[in-house]
């Protein structure tokens, strides 16, 4: 395959991230920083804030009174954001699947792909990686926004958002190698959170079922 200049234009922002794969000294970080450090370092504190916001939302949901939970007013803004998130996420996952990425090995696979793209210059894979990165960025923005809304009133959306953050952390840890351990750690925290919500949802579901059965029984008695 003939490689021309135009090809490198497309390649540039992906190659930036994979250049570190071969080095293991401090200046890998320094090199990286020179490219996008200024923006990315701020992203970390935002990530931390978002995580805490979701954690707070889970705790609110867990401890809020069930009546308040049920009678909550509908928030169109959250709904819209949730819808946006859902469509972007399906797009994102579909892209990941094209690479044959499963939930478990997202990071490893992306790293291998990055390496392969670097060595073999496959334009299709390169574009796909670029798209994954771009959509991932868009999803993070939505996740940041959603975290500041009253997500405790929408537990299913909350669950979905946390789940999505979990998946995104895997790919981010591969894309932004210098922050790999940060995203790995964030992922573990999100995983813990995801487990918590799923348990609460499960409990509430069985509680609702129980109440429904009781109500039905009451009806029959009447």
């Amino acid at each position: 395959m003939e490689i021309n200049d135009e090809f490198f234009d497309d390649f540039s922002d992906i190659i930036e991230n994979i250049s570190f794969l071969t080095y293991e000294k401090d200046y890998e970080f320094l090199e990286w920083y020179s490219i996008e450090g200024l923006n990315k370092i701020n992203e970390l504190s935002r990530q931390l804030q978002t995580f805490f916001n979701y954690k707070a939302a889970v705790i609110h949901y867990r401890f809020s009174e069930p009546q308040k939970r049920d009678n909550s007013t509908k928030n169109e803004h959250i709904k819209n954001k949730a819808r946006e998130l859902s469509s972007l996420s399906s797009h994102y996952i579909e892209k990941l699947r094209r690479f044959g990425l499963e939930n478990k090995n997202v990071k490893e696979r992306i790293l291998i792909l990055l390496q392969r793209v670097k060595n073999q210059s496959n334009k299709f894979e390169l574009n796909l990686l670029k798209e994954i990165k771009k959509i991932g960025k868009e999803i993070w923005i939505i996740l940041h926004i959603m975290s500041k809304l009253e997500m405790n009133l929408y537990p299913k959306s909350l669950y979905f958002a946390v789940k999505m953050a979990n998946i995104l952390c895997s790919s981010e840890s591969a894309f932004f190698w210098p922050f790999s351990s940060f995203y790995e750690e964030l992922k573990s925290n999100y995983k813990q959170l995801e487990k918590e919500i799923s348990e609460i949802l499960q409990k509430n579901k069985s509680r609702q079922k129980k109440t429904k059965v009781e109500r039905r029984k009451e009806k029959v008695v009447i």
Partner: protein, 1023 residues
């Protein structure tokens, strides 16, 4: 305390670094440059101009900050405060564990973890800002060579590392400290206690916040006292989180700098201790032990006092001298005596308020109001307004004061005299007597005492009055009628038959409890109105009336005559009977069994169900007779128009009322009119005078027609309607299962309403077609294709109408319709044989409905129709034969295939056919070229499926392998082509003039464009 090695020192650095003031919250950031030649220059140890303390390198400092954060979030002092745990231990000892668990879990968020990032954000932004433009530009443009700006960039790297470590710690703490499995929502009791505690705590916190740090620091003798103030605020945050709120006090009350600055100081002063799992266990153990202690020593009073915020001191000794006589006060009337008298009652009041079960707010109101009334009572005693009984006890007066508060104030929990007397350990009548004597005139009851008076005569006479007015003018409004009644009573005009006691009650009600009067009599007017209209409607449909459903209906509207259900029922029953006696012709007969015979719940349920059916059928009959000016009745006969068209005799007529249904001809369908739904509409709208006319108009507007249940089913079975030709094709069962499956694929893929559907929907449609074929096969084999009881409906035209009827509906193990999806024909028949029953048409099935047979006497007044219905029932039952062993043996499996059929068979067989027609040789290569499929794919297809394909294709020897269709193959391909052409050009009556029908091809893209979809309800397909 700043470690010396962390201090910014221009002597030792070799390139620019960023330093910060270690005072958390101070935004002093500085770029530190190295000294020239290692000694030239001022400010060798730069300091903060504001705080006068040496600066520290940011990458060193960030670690200290996170240390302070961790110290704050996971400090030992984050365990619940003692006063709160004491409350929980005493009031809700069983919830102690879950409370503590929840508290620890909520701690990080409650203690302000969310605000960390705000500070860090500022810090990193500041870091970037402080770089010179040149530095930033060079870094951004990737013009860095070697180790230039190494220290600057290393600072940022360290920040990232600290973040990671913090997250790691957060997770580890969470795993160690939280017992996730036992994490439960707080009980209501605990929530109440938390609310009380938080309310109290917030008062103190507001004072703390108002004073500010400096003032507090001055007040606090030591740093540890100062720390307690901060812990108080943080505890409030956790408490708020436990109540499902956000810790506003932390998020808005304190800045992140402030909070973590002080914790940094506490940490440096050694006041912070890491929280461990052992600490929590120990704390829990201690609390449980103290719980036992409290229970033993009855510390309830101490806690109560705090909760209620009542002005009672803990060490107050309750005076045991309860026998102080009140008349002594009157007699002596000395100041000290009165004080003592008041004090005695006050203490009794205090005791009683504690004993009464109520919320804390209610107790507080009760206490305050009682004290006020006590003072008023004492002043009346002082004025000698009444004589007190010699033996009156202070306890009795106290209990009566409380009773007077309860009855005259609506916001309090209702407690009867007897209950209160029991709580106060008094005789049952003492409170009532004292209230009547000393308090009633001053503090009358807030609610009208219905139980003290009889309303029987009042209800009857006034209802009669209302009934007469409504009869004269049916459109009179409730408010107008109420005003008429009020004016009459105010002008002393009462119905003649009311006696003096009744008039006294009415006057008392009107003068003292006007709201109650208005509510009661407007309810009564509504009741009489409903009885009037409901009786009219019931009379029209010739149904008997039952009061209880009316009661349920009225109660849903909030009409209850201020009575509980049973009393309300009794009142309406009395009114109805009274009015019915006066106007015998107007009111229909009433069924009065329900409550008078004291039915069990099960009996009542059955009874209600039966009544539901009778009224539903009566209504249906009325509508059939009167709709479209009686169009459905032909020479006195009620018939299904479709049955009539087909010349059916059995399946038509009034005796099969159960099988007659209303079908919407127009696409507009606001309501379905089944028997049970008709009853529901009737119950809901029976209070409307023109209800029957309205419903008839609605049905006529929606173009509702009368047809039998079986034909109704056929109208809606679009699967059969569209694929009838294939399903009922005579030679279908002469084909192998695989061939049938291939043809089903062909018809679904080529019929224009299904061809563009998704794969999933097509799969569903194919399944439905298969199910109908299976059903047709079974019924054809067993019953020769017709309904075994009526002999009119057949599988050729009405496959959908056949139901599996269980001999005994009570013994029903399977739903027959669910079997077709997953079982073969022989399996289905075997299963159904064990369930004891047989296939009959749905109309005959409805005849065997026992519930219907039971109530026919109540539905039809005409004995002849009843007799006819019974005869029909007996005839159906007699002809009904069950699935037997012989029948099971007759059933094969025409749809049991050995090979999975995919669309590719059709494609490949078609390709061979085309090639041979052209005169070309069908080889892997030519097929691959024709179908535009890879050569390897074609090769694999024939290789793998050779065994099956050999039935249709000759595999000629030689290289390359040549394929040609054998006779069976040619037959199959011609069948495929035949059904493809048939379904490509299939049209319905509706399509004829449709503008979207262009040369056998539908170009409609929206459902509302297709005339079939517009007219067909529950269309199984979607565009």
């Amino acid at each position: 305390m700043i470690k010396k090695e962390n201090q910014a020192n221009r002597k030792i650095i070799k390139e620019d670094r960023i330093a910060i003031c270690p005072h958390i919250g101070c935004d002093h950031l500085e770029r530190i440059k190295p000294l020239k030649f290692g000694f030239l220059g001022f400010r060798k140890y730069p300091t903060c101009s504001k705080h006068k303390i040496p600066l520290i390198f940011i990458d060193e400092f960030i670690g200290d900050f996170f240390q302070a954060v961790t110290a704050c979030l996971f400090d030992k002092s984050s365990l619940p405060p003692e006063d709160l745990i004491k409350m929980i231990t005493i009031k809700a000892p069983n919830d102690l564990n879950s409370f503590l668990n929840g508290w620890i879990y909520a701690n990080p968020i409650g203690r302000g973890a969310q605000i960390i990032s705000i500070y860090i954000d500022d810090l990193t932004k500041g870091y970037i800002k402080i770089l010179s433009r040149k530095q930033r530009k060079r870094l951004n443009n990737n013009q860095v060579s070697g180790n230039r700006y190494y220290m600057l960039r290393l600072g940022l790297k360290k920040i990232a590392e600290k973040y990671t470590i913090f997250l790691q710690k957060l997770r580890e703490y969470s795993e160690v400290l939280n017992d996730m499995r036992n994490l439960k929502p707080q009980s209501d009791k605990v929530r109440d206690l938390l609310k009380i505690w938080l309310k109290e705590d917030m008062k103190e916190i507001n004072e703390i916040i108002d004073k500010g740090d400096n003032e507090l620091l001055l007040e606090a003798e030591t740093l540890s006292v100062f720390k307690k103030n901060y812990d108080k605020i943080l505890h409030a945050g956790t408490c708020a989180v436990l109540l499902g709120k956000s810790p506003t006090i932390i998020l808005k009350g304190i800045s992140s700098f402030e909070l973590f600055r002080v914790y940094n100081e506490f940490l440096n002063a050694g006041l912070c201790k890491e929280l461990t799992r052992e600490d929590i266990s120990l704390y829990l153990r201690k609390s449980e032990e103290s719980s036992k202690f409290y229970n033993k020593n009855d510390m309830f009073s101490q806690i109560d006092d705090k909760e209620k915020n009542i002005d009672i001191k803990e060490d107050m000794i309750i005076n045991k001298n309860d026998n102080l006589k009140i008349d002594e006060i009157n007699k002596n009337s000395s100041e000290s005596g009165i004080r003592k008298f008041r004090q005695n009652i006050k203490e009794q009041l205090k005791k009683l308020v504690r004993l009464i079960e109520a919320t804390n707010e209610q107790k507080e109101i009760l206490w305050r109001k009682s004290l006020k009334r006590l003072d008023e009572f004492v002043s009346r005693v002082k004025r000698n307004e009444f004589l007190l009984h010699r033996n009156k006890k202070a306890k009795v007066v106290a209990a009566t004061i409380i009773y007077s508060v309860i009855v005259s104030y609506e916001g309090l929990k209702n407690i009867s005299q007897e209950d209160l007397a029991e709580i106060a350990e008094l005789g049952h009548t003492s409170i009532g007597e004292t209230y009547l004597k000393y308090f009633k005139s001053y503090y009358p009851r807030a609610k009208f005492p219905f139980y003290s008076y009889s309303f029987k005569r009042i209800n009857k006479e006034i209802s009669l009055l209302i009934f007469n007015i409504i009869k004269a003018s049916t459109e009179i409004k409730t408010t107008e009628l109420l005003i008429i009644l009020k004016n009459n009573f105010m002008n002393e005009r009462f119905p003649e038959k009311l006696d003096e006691s009744d008039i006294y009650v009415l006057k008392r009600m009107l003068n003292l409890y006007e709201d109650t009067f208005n509510k009661y009599f407007s309810d009564l007017i509504e009741v009489v109105k409903l009885l009037y209209f409901s009786a009219t409607n019931h009379k029209l449909i010739e149904a008997t009336i039952v009061i209880y459903p009316l009661v349920e209906y009225l109660e849903k509207l909030g009409i209850n005559l201020l009575q509980k259900t049973l009393t309300f029922y009794k009142y309406i029953r009395e009114i109805y009977d009274f009015l019915a006696e006066k106007y015998k012709d107007f009111f229909p007969e009433r069924l009065s069994r329900a409550f008078e015979e004291k039915m069990t719940e099960e009996q009542y349920r059955k009874y209600k169900n039966e009544y539901r059916q009778v009224v539903g059928y009566k209504l249906k009959l009325y509508l059939i007779k009167n709709m479209y000016n009686g169009e459905f009745i032909n020479n006195g006969k009620i018939e299904c128009s479709e049955c009539k068209k087909e010349g059916f005799r059995v399946n038509t007529g009034i005796s099969r009322l159960n099988a007659l249904t209303f079908h919407h001809l127009s696409g507009k369908k606001n309501e379905i009119f089944t028997t049970s739904r008709l009853y529901d509409i009737f119950t809901k709208k029976q209070g409307k005078i023109n209800f029957l006319e309205e419903i008839m108009k609605q049905m006529e507007a929606e173009k509702v027609i009368l047809i039998c249940r079986a034909h109704h089913m056929m109208f809606h079975d679009l699967y059969f309607r569209y694929f009838k030709y294939f399903i009922t094709w005579e030679k279908l069962f002469s084909l192998s299962a695989e061939e049938i499956y291939i043809l089903i694929r062909v018809i679904v893929n080529n019929f224009r309403l299904t061809m563009n559907l998704s794969k999933r929907r097509k799969r569903v449609i194919r399944q439905r077609i298969k199910n109908r074929i299976k059903k047709k096969y079974i019924i054809d084999r067993i019953y020769e294709g017709v309904c075994q009881t009526c002999g009119e409906f057949n599988t050729k035209h009405h496959i959908r109408v056949f139901d599996f009827c269980h001999l005994d509906p009570e013994i029903k193990n399977v739903e027959a319709r669910t079997l077709f999806d997953s079982y073969s024909c022989s399996e289905i028949v075997k299963i159904l044989k064990n369930d004891i029953g047989g296939f009959i048409c749905t109309n005959c099935h409805s005849v065997l409905d026992m519930e219907y047979i039971k109530v026919i006497d109540k539905i039809f007044d005409n004995e002849k129709i009843c007799e006819e219905t019974r005869k029909d029932y007996l005839r159906v039952k007699k002809n009904f034969s069950l699935i037997s062993d012989e029948m099971v043996k007759m059933i094969g499996n025409p749809l049991k295939k050995d090979v999975v059929i995919r669309g590719s068979y059709i494609k490949y067989l078609g390709a061979i056919y085309k090639l041979s027609k052209k005169g070309s040789v069908a080889t892997n290569k030519t097929i691959s070229n024709l179908l535009n499929i890879k050569y390897a794919g074609v090769k694999t297809f024939f290789l793998r499926r050779r065994e099956f394909l050999e039935q249709y294709v000759n595999f000629d020897f030689g290289r390359p392998t040549q394929y040609s269709l054998n006779t069976r193959g040619i037959k199959l391909v011609s069948l495929i082509n035949y059904f493809r052409n048939y379904y490509c050009s299939l049209e319905f009556d509706e399509c004829e003039n449709c503008i979207f029908n262009k040369r056998f091809k539908c170009i409609a893209t929206q459902p509302n464009q297709c005339p079939i979809i517009v007219n067909g309800n529950n269309l199984p397909f979607q565009f």
